[in-house]
């Protein structure tokens, strides 16, 4: 269960959002600048709401009334930033291991590395990777944190066509393999179709609808069978 009730101010922009979603994968969908990323950063603890409550699977991360504000490092979330934020001085292996809890088995590490097809990249530095490879490493790093929820901020943004297809296929694979609560920020309907179970439509800092993916697709004029089809390619 994803419970969000937050009020947040960033300069002139004000965000006020309240929703409770039982979905395993929730998409925050809306145009650029509507407050999706701010919501994600607030969930991660990188922006502090003026007031409100954030809880994921009954773990309260922020509750202004109860005086709860769990530090970012202790929220137990795996965040994949739009700009990946791999540590440029560390090889892929060290990037992947950075957030691994103590006691993580070599098998668990290998499973993620294999799933994301990273074995050949482990010794490389981020500067030697392509855009798609960088995203895959960032996803792997967040997964190896063994998070209570995965936060994906436009994971396919700024990727060329092939990289977009490549990363999306891996994300679909992860959705199948892991029972992972996921919050996805996107403004692309095809990403919602491929990865989400429920959609929170946000406009100008306000929730305008909370709907399941079928309703979302119908309102977007997309046939339901298109959900199973390969994603439409986007570039830029």
């Amino acid at each position: 269960m994803i419970e969000l009730d937050l009020a947040l101010q960033r300069g002139e922009f004000s965000l006020e959002l309240a929703l409770a979603s039982p979905a395993r994968a929730l998409a925050l969908f809306g145009p650029s600048g509507c407050g999706k990323t701010s919501t994600l950063l607030a969930i991660a603890g990188l922006l502090q709401p003026r007031h409100g409550r954030i809880a994921i699977n009954d773990h309260v991360l922020f509750d202004s009334r109860a005086g709860v504000d769990v530090a970012t490092a202790r929220r137990g979330l795996g965040v994949v930033f739009q700009d990946a934020r791999l540590f440029p001085h560390l090889a892929v292996r060290e990037n992947l291991r950075y957030g691994m809890p103590r006691g993580t088995t070599a098998q668990a590490f290998d499973d993620v590395v294999q799933l994301l097809q990273l074995p050949a990249l482990l010794k490389r530095k981020p500067g030697q990777l392509s855009g798609g490879q960088i995203r895959r490493v960032a996803i792997g790093r967040a997964l190896l944190r063994q998070p209570r929820a995965l936060l994906l901020d436009e994971p396919l943004a700024n990727l060329h066509r092939e990289a977009r297809v490549e990363v999306l296929e891996h994300l679909r694979g992860l959705k199948r393999e892991f029972e992972q609560t996921t919050i996805l920020v996107t403004h692309q309907p095809d990403e919602v179709m491929a990865l989400a179970d429920q959609v929170a439509r946000i406009e100008d800092g306000r929730l305008t609808a909370l709907e399941d993916v079928r309703t979302f697709m119908a309102s977007a004029g997309i046939p339901v069978r298109a959900r199973a089809a390969p994603i439409a390619s986007k570039s830029g």
Binding site: G45, F81, D83, P88, Y98, G99, I134
Partner: protein
């Protein structure tokens, strides 16, 4: 034939020892102060920064005199150090303290620039991966500031190596104890017939300063203070 006389060699070795120890002692404090300046907002920050830069601005003799007042045999701290058998006045450790104080602002300035050049989004990413403040600093901020750190160390070492005014005021000129290369050079200039030795020590001081300058330039040119941008 030896290039330097035994006395000149002693002065040179002492200068290296004093500079290395001085800079090493300055480093942890400089790192802490530079991090505060780069990452924190607090009341009185300009005053704090001004105080840190004082040794760079004050006449060195004034700095040396302040050290003498505080750490001399009758000084507030010096008296206590004497009682504990840790006297530093008129000893090489005092010269190292003077070198540390004089080199300190250069280290702070270089490190502050280096820390500010590290993209804070990387530090935020480390926090989401469970890293606390210390781990973020030692695993992300400091490694990404390494070029700026090395440049700062080179400049600080050169400043400590060339230190004269504060040292001679605080610990005088005792051969083998406090007579560092610049002080030995001053003594040679003041002594009839010392021109040859003065020229030799000038040459050595010039080479050390040039090497430090080249190291600093290489580090800074190759990205010492370049902003660390995250990958796309």
């Amino acid at each position: 034939m030896d290039v330097l006389t035994p006395a000149e060699t002693v002065a040179l070795a002492l200068s290296f020892k004093v500079s290395l120890v001085g800079v090493a002692c300055s480093l942890p404090v400089a790192i802490g102060c530079a991090w505060l300046l780069a990452r924190k907002r607090f009341y009185g920050k300009p005053l704090f920064e001004g105080l840190l830069l004082l040794p760079l601005i004050l006449p060195p003799v004034v700095t040396g005199y302040i050290l003498l007042i505080v750490f001399g045999h009758h000084g507030a701290i010096g008296r206590w150090l004497d009682a504990a058998g840790l006297s530093i006045a008129f000893r090489w450790t005092g010269a190292a303290l003077a070198a540390a104080v004089m080199a300190f602002p250069l280290l702070v300035v270089a490190l502050r620039n280096a820390f500010e050049s590290v993209d804070r989004r990387l530090e935020n990413a480390a926090a989401t991966l469970g890293a606390g403040a210390w781990r973020i600093f030692f695993s992300v901020t400091l490694p990404l500031s390494m070029r700026g750190l090395v440049a700062g160390l080179a400049l600080a070492f050169a400043r400590a190596f060339g230190e004269f005014g504060a040292t001679i005021t605080f610990v005088s000129s005792i051969p083998g104890q406090t007579r560092t290369l610049p002080i030995a050079l001053y003594e040679l200039i003041s002594t009839p017939g010392g021109e040859g030795g003065a020229l030799r020590l000038t040459l050595v001081a010039g080479i050390v300063a040039l090497l430090a300058g080249v190291i600093a330039a290489l580090m800074l040119l190759r990205g010492g203070t370049r902003r660390t941008e995250v990958e796309a």
